[in-house]
């Protein structure tokens, strides 16, 4: 797929839609598009990964291994979302495994190319990292909400009516 088509795709994705035109051009030039069949392991927890992925279509899941529990699915991600940020920020040592839950289409950007672009062009680096920070911030808030366990039933029956109202 040529860069102009990729640029058009990136314009439509939530992660990259707000990027300035010249940044989009550079990102498109450093990217390819890839089909991922359901069940494919894209990268494994503890392993290395050289790419940043932006989901165009389909759904990916992040899983972490827990002794005695196996692979625990902690998050699913859909169109417009980013996967594999550790490749860019942490030299590719992955903190979770990523698996395609259904047939998916992703934009793949080589992390080393992105790092080179960031170093060579601070504007590019600023805008890319701004989007990355925004995406990670949303993911952090979502994780906090998960931790709050808001839908858990009261662990012990409450003795008075105060906490019993359910209207």
């Amino acid at each position: 797929m040529d860069p102009s088509q990729l640029r058009f795709i990136l314009e439509e994705l939530r992660f990259s839609a707000m990027l300035p035109a010249e940044v989009l051009d550079q990102l498109a030039a450093a990217s390819t598009i890839k089909q991922i069949p359901a069940g494919t392991v894209i990268f494994r927890e503890g392993g290395t990964n050289d790419n940043l992925y932006l989901i165009r279509d389909g759904r990916l899941a992040l899983e972490m291994s827990v002794p005695g529990r196996g692979a625990v699915r902690i998050l699913t991600l859909g169109a417009g979302e980013m996967v594999g940020w550790s490749a860019l920020l942490d030299e590719g040592k992955m903190t979770a495994s990523a698996i395609a839950v259904e047939d998916s289409e992703v934009v793949v950007a080589e992390a080393e190319k992105l790092r080179q672009l960031c170093r060579a062009n601070r504007d590019f680096g600023y805008h890319l990292m701004e989007q990355m920070a925004a995406a990670l911030s949303k993911r952090l808030v979502a994780t906090r909400l998960q931790l709050l366990d808001l839908f858990a039933a009261s662990p012990t029956p409450v003795p008075d009516r105060t906490s019993e109202s359910e209207a």
Partner: protein, 291 residues
């Protein structure tokens, strides 16, 4: 749209005496998920049954002699006049007592009380229902009403989050809702073996919602207050205005008519001025610690 869904037909007796409880019998008990059951209640007095109407979003006060009284959202189809369903989680003395009752047992019911979901405002517009946990119960009557007059509305999306796959409320109804034109999106906070659906908080579903026109959408939200706060933030970030967002509040409602003050929130009483509020009206009081 039938006006009965927009504003309840008042029972004249309730208008003069909101304290008077009618006797209802448990007609059926349906276990939903662990610790949660739906109780179909039938009025014993035929005249009361014939005149009783409610609007989606309203609640009843259920009175169990010797245990107490509790506010419970109505979770039935508003067109159902034979019985009135309430989906209830065991949480304290009254609900625990209720959980020990069986079909044929009787209790007292006052109601309906409170404001309702603004279905008239949804005509010609898209509707997004965002809910979590047992918060789906007060939304269910709105779903029934929207689907009953499906052609009057644009896209209908239900975004529902639960703790785990086995706690998804009314799961047996999703296929029917989907066939009738409601797009059902579910997610769970904690996955389980074999679960192929979404994992993550319900606000993420709103982030991802495609074919979303923020200028022509009405959003209803019901669930834990923290969930609603972040849902509203997401909706505002996606371009909705506070006037398009409605939330159902929960407080300690005891009298149901705005006299006892237990459910006061700022200048409002949740029982009388709510539980359904337009967001801009209630927003200043949501983040105040202690309210």
């Amino acid at each position: 749209m039938s006006s009965s869904y927009v504003a309840p037909l008042p029972d004249p007796r309730l208008a003069t005496d909101p304290w008077r409880a009618s006797t209802v019998a448990i007609r059926a008990v349906r276990p939903e998920v662990e610790g949660v059951s739906t109780y179909d209640l039938a009025f014993q007095d035929e005249a009361v049954r014939a005149s009783y109407r409610f609007a989606p979003g309203q609640f009843n006060m259920l009175y169990l002699p010797g245990a107490g009284e509790i506010a419970i959202s109505i979770s039935d189809d508003p067109r159902n006049t034979a019985t009135c369903a309430h989906t209830i989680r065991v949480a304290g003395n009254v609900t625990r007592t209720l959980a020990g009752m069986k079909v044929g047992d009787t209790l007292g019911l006052r109601g309906p009380f409170g404001t309702s979901w603004p279905l008239a405002e949804c005509i010609g517009r898209d509707v997004v229902l965002v809910t979590g946990g047992i918060g789906l119960a007060p939304i269910r009557p709105a779903i029934c009403a929207l689907l009953h007059q499906r052609r009057q509305f644009g896209r209908l999306n239900l975004l529902y989050g639960a703790r785990s796959p086995d706690t998804l409320l009314y799961a047996r109804e999703y296929d029917d809702w989907s066939e009738r034109g409601l797009i059902v999106h579910t997610t769970v906070d904690r996955s389980a073996l074999g679960w192929m659906g979404n994992v993550g908080v319900v606000t993420l579903l709103l982030e991802r919602l495609r074919s979303f026109d923020p200028r022509n959408t009405v959003l209803f939200c019901c669930g834990p207050e923290v969930m609603m706060r972040f849902t509203v933030l997401t909706a505002l970030n996606r371009g909705m205005s506070p006037e398009q967002i409605w939330i159902s509040m929960e407080r300690n409602m005891q009298c149901a008519v705005g006299l006892c003050g237990h459910c006061q929130l700022g200048p409002d009483f949740i029982c009388k001025d709510g539980p359904v509020f337009r967001y801009d009206r209630i927003a200043p009081f949501l983040d105040v610690e202690g309210l």
